[in-house]
């Protein structure tokens, strides 16, 4: 079990963004989190990475309770994320972005860095090599010196994935990775996520592109109005009456309208 969420509830003032949501993600899975806008998917990501504290409930990562520890510690433990509205370090080069992603896997302090001790040089070289390898993986090796904000939208999304992978995550959270991508870019993304899975990284992703999700995911959970509506394999979800109603509206509702 990589991630286990137990009865997560999150209230913002009087509004309940999430109510008693529980699910488990197995090692090596690609797990999809879907649901209409405002269903609480991104809130769930923010809770897993502890940017928000849950009102109640427990998060366990690899058998360890991680509720309430600092966001940067979460990354150290092996959970890293991308953002729905891309948040790259826009004035840095592509390579530097990935190097920052590797920050928590390196240790050199101020003095080591200034005097360029052997340890620091080795560490820096390893980080460079690894970052270049990740850029190769996401197909951005030719853009290593480009400033991040000059990349196309799809490239920026892929760079975010490379940056997150640089922290050696065991669990990668992708927040709408295919948003705003054209068909061929989406196909590339599909291959990329499959490759990430092959590296032994478990993936949890939020996505609105249904054909993409159904094709990619091993298991899917559906949120609606902060509650878990259904969970299962893509086929089960596709045939689930409650899910169809949530997305398309029920027949009775149509008649009233």
């Amino acid at each position: 079990m990589v991630l286990e969420l137990t009865k997560i509830t999150k209230n913002f003032g009087g509004i309940s963004a999430l109510t008693d949501v529980s699910f488990k993600i197995e090692q090596g899975q690609i797990f999809g989190l879907i649901g209409p806008n405002g269903a609480g998917k991104t809130t769930m990501f923010n809770i897993i990475t502890n940017m928000f504290l849950p009102t109640s409930g427990e998060i366990s990562f690899l058998g360890e309770n991680i509720s309430g520890i600092k966001p940067h510690k979460i990354t150290e433990k092996g959970i890293c994320r991308t953002f729905q509205n891309i948040r790259l370090f826009s004035q840095m080069s592509v390579l530097e972005n990935v190097l920052v992603g590797g920050h928590c896997r390196s240790k050199s302090g101020v003095l080591h860095s200034v005097f360029r001790t052997k340890k620091q040089c080795n560490e820096e070289n390893e980080m460079h090599a690894k970052s270049l390898e990740l850029l190769e993986l996401v197909g951005l090796a030719d853009y290593r010196d480009t400033i991040a904000e000059n990349l196309s939208y799809g490239q920026q999304r892929r760079l975010e994935i490379a940056r997150a992978l640089a922290s050696n995550p065991k669990l990668l959270l992708l927040d709408e990775p295919a948003a705003g991508m054209n068909e061929s870019e989406t196909d590339d993304l599909f291959d990329l996520i499959k490759k990430v899975q092959k590296r032994g990284v478990t993936v949890l992703l939020i996505e609105h592109d249904m054909p993409f999700v159904m094709k990619l995911c091993d298991r899917i959970a559906v949120l609606n109005f902060g509650k878990k509506l259904a969970e299962g394999t893509p086929e089960e979800i596709q045939n689930n009456q409650a899910v169809i109603e949530a997305y398309l509206g029920s027949e009775e509702e149509d008649q009233i309208a």
Binding site: H72, C80, F89, S90, E96, G109, S113, D142
Partner: protein
């Protein structure tokens, strides 16, 4: 011959340029992690008073006093930094400006120690102490054709230049390491940096404290170069002046701070012949700068341009050259 060129006045101005460069670097360091601190005058004052009092009352060697001044400023920087860094942007600026004023008011009112607004005089002068040392070991400035005065100021200037070279080297290297990348990442997007596993609090306090140490260090040097300090030297207009050094020169790169401090210290001196109008010109230049080049004179693209042009002059571009972007 050397004796004719070395005008003590020019040497003194050059010494102040060096001190101002240290101050500009101090604010550059805090800015590089995205924090606008206006407390530099306060930290400078703390360094100056600490060192001055220690050397006057306890007759400690100047170097011990200066280091103590920097350390005390750094410790206070950490103490102020931890709570203050919850604030961002202008809020942090106002809070640190307030801190600087509190420090100044303490200097004014704690008369038994600081002698109030009269200030401290009789601070051991770095150059004169060194002259005494050289005379003790049997060296006289006359031997190289210099007057005592010239020798003193020349020595002080050389020491300050050396200090600046070390500091620039130190922070350039720090910038190119994971520490510098962490500062830059926090400056660009704090939330994303945190999600990438950076301990935001640590790096913000680190850069704030480094800025405080440098400001304290510069303040202590100032005290021993001038031999006289008063609270008015560390008022808020000093903090603004230091900020302008860095912003004018270009706050993205360390050379911007160096350039800004040099240019803006020289400008009023060079314009002395038009006396009272010179600060008008100073102001006008700042206005024009912010209108036409808000990022400062020197930024990354200027540096790249220089690098490229210097390289091609040296001829490294001959022969086969791999173009990475194609």
């Amino acid at each position: 011959m050397l004796g004719e060129i070395l005008n003590p006045y020019y040497l003194q101005v050059a010494a102040f340029i060096m001190i101002n460069i240290i101050l500009a670097i101090s604010i550059y360091i805090t800015l590089s992690s995205g924090q606008l601190s206006l407390g530099s005058a306060g930290f400078m004052g703390i360094g100056a008073y600490t060192s001055a009092l220690l050397t006057i009352h306890f007759e400690l060697p100047i170097i011990v006093g200066i280091l103590a001044g920097a350390v005390v400023a750094g410790i206070i920087g950490i103490l102020i930094g931890i709570p203050a860094l919850r604030l961002q942007g202008v809020y942090l600026a106002i809070a640190t400006l307030g801190f600087g004023e509190v420090v100044r008011i303490i200097f004014v009112n704690w008369e038994s120690v600081t002698r109030g607004s009269i200030g401290l005089s009789g601070i051991p002068h770095m150059g004169r102490e060194l002259l005494r040392f050289f005379k003790d070991i049997g060296f006289d400035p006359d031997m190289i054709g210099l007057k005592n005065n010239q020798f003193i100021y020349l020595l002080v200037l050389l020491i300050l230049v050396l200090i600046n070279i070390i500091l620039i080297w130190f922070f350039t290297r720090q910038n190119k390491s994971r520490i510098g990348r962490a500062f830059a990442a926090i400056k660009m997007d704090e939330k994303a940096a945190e999600a990438m596993g950076l301990n935001i609090t640590y790096y913000k306090v680190l850069s704030f404290a480094q800025g405080a140490v440098l400001a304290g260090f510069a303040g202590a040097l100032y005290a021993h170069v001038l031999a006289y300090i008063s609270p008015a030297d560390f008022a808020y207009h000093r903090a603004i002046e230091i900020l302008i050094f860095s912003v004018f020169g270009g706050s993205e790169v360390i050379l911007g701070a160096v350039f800004g401090a040099t240019f803006l210290t020289l400008l009023p001196e060079a314009l002395r012949f038009i006396s009272e109008y010179r600060y008008m010109i100073y102001g006008a230049i700042l206005v024009l700068m912010m209108a036409f080049r808000p990022q400062g004179i020197i930024d990354a693209s200027v540096l790249n341009w220089f690098k490229k042009n210097l390289k091609s002059k040296r001829g490294t571009n001959h022969g086969t050259r791999i173009n990475k972007n194609n």
